[in-house]
Amino acid sequence: MRVLIVEDEAVAARGLERMVRDILERRVQSVRIERSLEGARAHLTDQPVDLVLLDLNLNGQDGFSILQEFVAGVFHTIVVSANTGRALEAFEYGVLDFVPKPVMKDRMQRALMRMQNGGERGGLTKFLSVRREEGAVLIPIDKLVFVEGADNDVILHLSDGRTERHRKTLDALEKILPAKFLRIHRSYIVDLEQIDHFRVRAGGRHEAVLRSGDVLPVGRSRYGEIRAMVADARSGAAERPAEI
C-alpha cells in the first residue's frame, strides 16, 4: 500500500507515519508526507497512491473544498481532523473513514482495516466526487443507478441517462457506497432498488433487468445471495423464464 500523509504540523505528521507503519507493518509499501496542498497535488499527479490521510485544516484553509477534490481520486481518503463537528459531512462525501485527533492507534487501525475488508459498509455516503476540468463535482448518490467497471476507472450510470467517469475501482467504491448498492458482478455494482426482475438465459447466464431497461449480468456465484437480498428488501422480484 502506498500512503500519502497530508499534514502541516511536523510532529503530527511524523507521528502519523510511525503509527501507520506500526499498524500495516509490511503491507505498507511507501509513506510520503506532504506539508502542503500543492505538494500533495504534485505528488498525486506523479505517483500512484492507494490511501491518503488528510488533515482538513491545512494552513487554516477550508477543508471541504480540498476534500471534494481528494475523494474524486482513485485512492481512498481517510480524514484525520480535530474538528469532529463535520465528520458526518465528510462521510457524505465518500471518505473511507474519519479519524478524530488526537489520533489513537486502535481507531486508526479500524480505519485502515476498512481498506482490506470493506467490513461495515459506508452507509453515509451521499456524493461521489468526479473530476472535471473546472474542478471536482459532486454527484448525488440517489441519481446513481449502476456502476460499470472499465479499464482504469468506472462509469457511473445516472438516472437521467448521463454517465460520469470516476477514478476509483469497483472494489474501492464498494467500500464507500451505501448498503443498497450491491456488487452483482465482477464489473457491476447496482442499486438494488433499481432492479425490476431477474431472468435466466440459456447457458445459465443470469441477468438483472433494471427499471430503466438496462440489462446487467449477474455473477453466477453471487446470484443466489443477491436474489435473497433483493427478496428481503421487498416482496421479491419474480423470476421469469427467459427467452431461449
Binding site: G60, A82, K101
Partner: protein, 647 residues
C-alpha cells in the same frame, strides 16, 4: 294728573281713523309733561318693530311708585344711535321707560319682547278699557310666572286697531341695563323664534358634539387635555345657555336664586377648566415658570369667583368675572405666542383658536359700545367666534396628540434602538467569546496539541511533558480571562507567550515575542492579541522554523497604540481568520464603543504583516471597574506555574 288714555271709540277701519287719530293722539299726548317723541306706529305692512326711541326716567333709589314715576319731571327722551338698544351699563338704579304705541294696523294682538334674559324684573303697565294692566317678568322670578313662557321676556299687548296706548315699563336689575325692546306680531315672533331656535340648535349641537367627541377621546387615550377641554366647552356652552335664557327655561326654571348667581359661577367654573386646558396643552410647566405661575394664580381666581358668586351680590361678582376674563385672555394669548415662538407646532392651532374667540368677543363688545353696527355677524359674533374657536381647539388637540405621539415614538425608537444595538454587541461579543473559547479548547488548538503531545510521548517524553505543562498554563489563563471585558495587557502578553511555546513545540519551530514600550496601566479586551498571534502562525509562519512577533506599545494623548507585527504573511481570506477579526472588532466595540481603530495589513517592503489597534486609555472604559476587581485572582492563577516549563 293722570295721563290715562281714554278709550277711544271710533271706526276700526284705519282709513277713516287715520287722520282723526293723529290729531287725537297728538292732543292727548300734548297733555303729558314734556314733549313726547317716543312713539311706535304699528302699520299693516310691517310686523316687527324695534323700539329705539323712548322716554327714560332714572329712579336711583327705586322708590318711585307708578304714579310717582308718571308724575315725575325728570323724564327725558332717549334716541339710540345706529339702531342699538338702550344701554345704561351696570347701575343700581331702577329705570322707567315709557312709549306711545299707535296701532294703525288691522290686528289688535301684539307682543312686546325684551330680548335680554338677564334682567331681574320688568313690570309693564298699560291702561285700557279694562283698566290698568300690569304684567311682570324677570329672571329673579320663577320661570313659570312669566306671562309667556319663553326664554326672552314677552308681554301680550292688545291695542284695538286705530287706537293708541301708552306703555310704561319698570326695569330693575343688578346686572347690565340693556333694553332691547321689540314689538311684533305673533306671526313675526313665531317666524323669528323658529329661526333663533334653529341657530341655537346648530350652535349648541356643535358644542355637544365636540364635547362628547373629546370626552370619548379622553377615555380612549387617557390624555387629560381632552378631559379639560370637555369640561371647558361644556362650561362655556352653559354660559351661553344662561345668557340666552335657555338655561333658566329648561334647566332650573324654579330656582331663580340660582339663576341670579349662575352666570359668574359658571364663568368661574368654565374658565378654570379653560386655564387647565391651556396650561396642559401648551405645557406651560416646561415652557415658562412665570407664565405657569400666572395661570395657576388665575385658576385660583376662578375658584374664588365661583365660590364667592354664591354669597356676594351679583353686581360685584359680575364685575369680578369681567376683570378675570380679560386677564385670562391676555395671559392665554401671551402663553400661546410664547409656545409658538418655541416651535411647538400644535400651539399654532391654539393661538389661532383663541384669536378667533377674542375677535368674536371684541366684535361683540364693539357692537355693544356702538362702534360696530348691528348685523347678523355682529349679533352672533360671540357664538360664531366660539364655535370656530372650539373647532380649532379640537383640531389642535388632534394635532398635538399626533405630534406628541410622533415625538414619543421617535424617542422610544431611539432608546430601543440604542438598547438593541448594545444588546446585540453584547450578545455578539459573548457568542464570539464562546466560539473562540470553543475554538481554542475544542477542535484545532486543543486537539491538535494533544495529538502532538501523544506523538511526542513516544519520541521525546520530556518535550511532551513540557508541552502539556505549557498547554495547561495557557488554558488556565484562557479560562480566567475570557469572561472579563478587560484585562491587563500583562495578562494578554503572558497568554500569547504561552501560546507561542505550545505552537513552537507542535511545529518544532521557535516562535518569539519581542516587546517594546511600557505595559503599565494598559487594559485590553481578552484574547485580542492572542487571536492575532494565532492568525499569524497559522497563515504566515507555518513552515518556517522561526518566527518573531514584535509588540510595540505607545501611549499618546490619552490613546494607546498597540502594534503587533510578524514576519510572515497573514491573510484573512480563511473562514477562521475572518472569525478572529470579527471577534476582535466586537470586543473592542463593547469595551470602547466608537472610540477604537483596528487595522490589519501587509507590511510594504518587508515580508510581513502588521496589525494596529488604537484604544483609549484603560481608565476611561466602562468596564474598568469589573476588570480591576478580578485582576488579583487572575494574576495569582498564572503566577503559580513552575518556571521550569518555560522554554
Amino acid at each position: 294728573m293722570s295721563a290715562f288714555f281714554r278709550r277711544r271709540r271710533g271706526h276700526r277701519r284705519w282709513c277713516h281713523a287715520h287722520g282723526a287719530l293723529a290729531i287725537l293722539v297728538a292732543l292727548s299726548l300734548n297733555l303729558l309733561p314734556g314733549f313726547l317723541e317716543a312713539r311706535v306706529v304699528l302699520d299693516e305692512g310691517q310686523q316687527a318693530y324695534d323700539v329705539l326711541s323712548l322716554d327714560i326716567l332714572e329712579d336711583p333709589q327705586g322708590a318711585l311708585s307708578r304714579e310717582g314715576a308718571m308724575a315725575s319731571e325728570a323724564w327725558h327722551p332717549y334716541a339710540s344711535r345706529l339702531g342699538l338698544p338702550p344701554n345704561f351699563g351696570f347701575s343700581r338704579s331702577v329705570y322707567w321707560v315709557r312709549m306711545a304705541v299707535e296701532n294703525r294696523s288691522a290686528r289688535a294682538d301684539w307682543l312686546l319682547q325684551v330680548t335680554y334674559p338677564s334682567l331681574d324684573r320688568i313690570d309693564l303697565y298699560m291702561m285700557d278699557s279694562a283698566g290698568l294692566t300690569q304684567s311682570t317678568a324677570g329672571d329673579s322670578l320663577p320661570f313659570y310666572q312669566r306671562p309667556v313662557l319663553h326664554q326672552s321676556f314677552l308681554f301680550r299687548v292688545r291695542i284695538p286697531p286705530g287706537e293708541a296706548r301708552m306703555l310704561l315699563l319698570r326695569f330693575q336689575t343688578e346686572g347690565s341695563h340693556q333694553y332691547p325692546i321689540r314689538i311684533l306680531s305673533q306671526e313675526a315672533f313665531w317666524h323669528a323664534d323658529r329661526l333663533a331656535s334653529l341657530a341655537h340648535g346648530v350652535y349648541f349641537g356643535i358644542i355637544l358634539i365636540l364635547g362628547v367627541y373629546n370626552l370619548v377621546l379622553f377615555f380612549m387615550v387617557w390624555d387629560r387635555s381632552f378631559l379639560y377641554y370637555f369640561l371647558y366647552i361644556t362650561g362655556f356652552g352653559l354660559i351661553l345657555l344662561i345668557l340666552d335664557g335657555l338655561a333658566f327655561e329648561w334647566l332650573w326654571p324654579t330656582f331663580p336664586w340660582w339663576q341670579n348667581r349662575s352666570l359668574p359661577f359658571t364663568i368661574g367654573w368654565s374658565f378654570f377648566w379653560s386655564l387647565a386646558f391651556a396650561s396642559k396643552f401648551l405645557n406651560t410647566g416646561h415652557l415658562s415658570v412665570p407664565l405657569h405661575r400666572m395661570m395657576r394664580l388665575l385658576m385660583g381666581g376662578m375658584v374664588l369667583l365661583a365660590a364667592s358668586s354664591l354669597v356676594i351680590p351679583y353686581f360685584w361678582s359680575i364685575h369680578a368675572s369681567a376683570v378675570l376674563v380679560i386677564s385670562f385672555s391676555i395671559v392665554v394669548l401671551i402663553a400661546s405666542l410664547h409656545s409658538v415662538s418655541r416651535g411647538f407646532r400644535p400651539a399654532r392651532y391654539f393661538l389661532f383658536a383663541w384669536g378667533t374667540l377674542l375677535i368674536g368677543v371684541a366684535v361683540y363688545s364693539l357692537k355693544g359700545l356702538g362702534v360696530l353696527p348691528p348685523h347678523f355677524l355682529t349679533d352672533y359674533s360671540l357664538q360664531i367666534g366660539s364655535a370656530v374657536e372650539m373647532s380649532l381647539l379640537s383640531l389642535g388637540l388632534g394635532d398635538r396628540m399626533q405630534t406628541l405621539q410622533v415625538d414619543r415614538e421617535r424617542a422610544l425608537g431611539a432608546a430601543s434602538e440604542s438598547r438593541r444595538l448594545f444588546q446585540e454587541a453584547e450578545l455578539r461579543s459573548s457568542r464570539l467569546e464562546l466560539e473562540l473559547l470553543k475554538k481554542n479548547i475544542e477542535p484545532h488548538f486543543l486537539m491538535n496539541t494533544l495529538n502532538a503531545t501523544l506523538f511526542l510521548l513516544q519520541e521525546d517524553p520530556a518535550t511532551a511533558a513540557a508541552l502539556l505543562g505549557s498547554l495547561a498554563a495557557e488554558l488556565r489563563i484562557l479560562l480566567n480571562v475570557s469572561g472579563r471585558p478587560l484585562i491587563s495587557i500583562e495578562e494578554e502578553v503572558e497568554l500569547c507567550r504561552r501560546h507561542l511555546i505550545v505552537m513552537g513545540m507542535r511545529h518544532e519551530a521557535r516562535y518569539e515575542m519581542e516587546l517594546s514600550g511600557s505595559m503599565e496601566g494598559i487594559k485590553v479586551p481578552p484574547l485580542i492579541l492572542h487571536t492575532l498571534i494565532e492568525n499569524g502562525i497559522t497563515h504566515g509562519l507555518q513552515h518556517r522554523g522561526f518566527g518573531v512577533f514584535r509588540l510595540q506599545l505607545r501611549q499618546t494623548d490619552g490613546m494607546v497604540e498597540i502594534d503587533l507585527e510578524n514576519d510572515g504573511m497573514s491573510g484573512s481570506s480563511s473562514r477562521e481568520g475572518g472569525l478572529g477579526f470579527r471577534y476582535i472588532s466586537a470586543r473592542l466595540e463593547e469595551a470602547y464603543p466608537g472610540r477604537w481603530t483596528f487595522r490589519s495589513e501587509p507590511l510594504p517592503l518587508k515580508r510581513g504583516w502588521k496589525n494596529r489597534i488604537v484604544i483609549p486609555e484603560g481608565s476611561v472604559s466602562r468596564a474598568g471597574g469589573a476588570a480591576s476587581k478580578q485582576e488579583g485572582s487572575g494574576r495569582n492563577a498564572w503566577n503559580i506555574e513552575p518556571k521550569e516549563h518555560d522554554v
